[in-house]
């Protein structure tokens, strides 16, 4: 069975790119355009991993991360953002990994694979 991952990003282009690229990696990709939508999807379905943008209108990624870790402690979350410097911020520590957005998705893909493999072991 393919691993089910949820991509949360407010930009349509990014969501589409993630979907196509990650589907090619053999993942079952689901999308959410906001923090609120993401939490709603997580309530309904069981996911193996979440890729979460930090800067979003409405509920931001850090708040979404906090709520996810409250409810689904073991669900891995990768934060993905345009800023390097969120890495040092307290609110992001709960995430399992941190990836800086780039048109080169290599880093994101390796990170996803690493986390999913660790989970299996």
């Amino acid at each position: 069975m393919n691993e089910k991952i949820l991509v949360v990003d407010d930009e349509e282009g990014i969501r589409l790119l993630y979907k196509e690229e990650l589907m090619d990696e053999g993942l079952d990709v689901h999308l959410a355009a906001s923090g609120e939508e993401a939490l709603a999807k997580l309530e309904k379905d069981k996911f193996d991993l979440v890729v979460l943008d930090i800067k979003m209108p409405g509920m931001d990624g850090i708040e979404v991360l906090r709520r996810i870790k409250e409810k689904w402690k073991n669900l891995p979350v990768i934060l993905s953002t345009a800023y390097h410097h969120y890495k040092q911020e307290f609110g992001t520590w709960a995430s399992d990994a941190y990836v800086v957005k780039s048109s080169d998705l290599k880093e994101l893909k390796t990170t996803i694979k690493d986390i999913l493999n660790t989970g299996k072991r």
Binding site: I14, L16, E21, A82, Y83, Q88, S102
Partner: protein
Amino acid sequence: MGYDILVKVIELTDSEEALEKRLEGVARLLSGSFAFDQCAIYLFDQDKKILNLAVTAGDKRSAGGGCQKAYKENEGFPGLAIKKGRPVFASRSKPAKGLWQKVPDKGANGFATIACCPIKDDLLYGVLYLKNKREKTLSPIQKKLFSVIALQLATAIKHYEYIVNLTDANTRMKDMQARLVHAEKLLALGEMAATLAHEIRNPLMSIGGFAKRLHQQTILDPSHVIYVERIVKEVERLEKLMDGIVHFSSKSGYEFLSEDINKIMEEVIQFFEDDFRRNRIDVIKDLSLDMPMVKVDRQQVKLAFNNLMANAIQAMGDGGTLTIKTRHKDKWIVTEVSDTGGGIAPEIMGNIFNPFYTTKETGTGLGLAITHSIITNHKGIIEVNNNMGIGVTFTIKLPVAITGKLLTGLKRRTL
């Protein structure tokens, strides 16, 4: 007579000329007007407590041989004048209280009369020293005038020192202001970057990401492959620029750990290996074995050196030699990156660390600005030694990490 000399002295001392020129004018005037063979002006060095010969006028023969270059503050007639705080007059044949014999002064050898007056107000500035080979008596008015002239010289020297100090302070202030402007530019840049980074990065990522997909997956016309490759490359360039800009908005995010600078340099050199080969650049590694640890953010310092390397490689498009040197000097880890790329044009030297300043067609103008800001954030120093026509040496000094040094010491002992 008399008073017109005073007017002339005031004119000479008030001129716009360099101090030495003014003093020379006065010395010449005095040796002529008082009919003395020689007039010398000594200036007092406040730190070393010594009188140094500044100018002489009059009899050139005796001016050369008979003028002592310097006097200690208690030596000879100048010393006596300082001690008394008023003019001293002495002559060989009419020994006023035996002065001529009592005061040893080689400078007075061969002369018959001297007049020596301290140049001072609250502070001592120097000594005015007149000598004559024949016996000569100064009238009370001339003696008085002599003191007044010395006072005028004191005022002139004091003003000159004020101006020098003021100019110094002014230069320092201008320097500080330039730095402030630089810092403000960076701050403004950081604020703008924070707002822009997200907005620009996301669409860039879409463009670049989909272009890559096109490139990898679609069967394209060969000419279209070139177009798509161009899109991918340009996006990478813009993303690099965004990285650079965002860098300025994240000053706080440094993680300082004890690192081995040689290891960092090896990694940086390795990163550029292909470029060195392609550009026929010889790399000379002169890494000192005795390097203490340095507390740095590894990624940031690597970025700082990467930028220096990238510049050096670009400067040596037709091949050359890159020398990387590491040394431990006192409290500093000193790293030098030298190229043989012909150097930096003097007229742009003042701008090389300014963000967005570039002379390259595809440059972002952020490379050296980022390097500068990273090194400054490490409390380090960056220096440029430009050898026009030959090449440039960038010297980076980073403070030695005390704890790191102890750690390496321990490691060595246990090994």
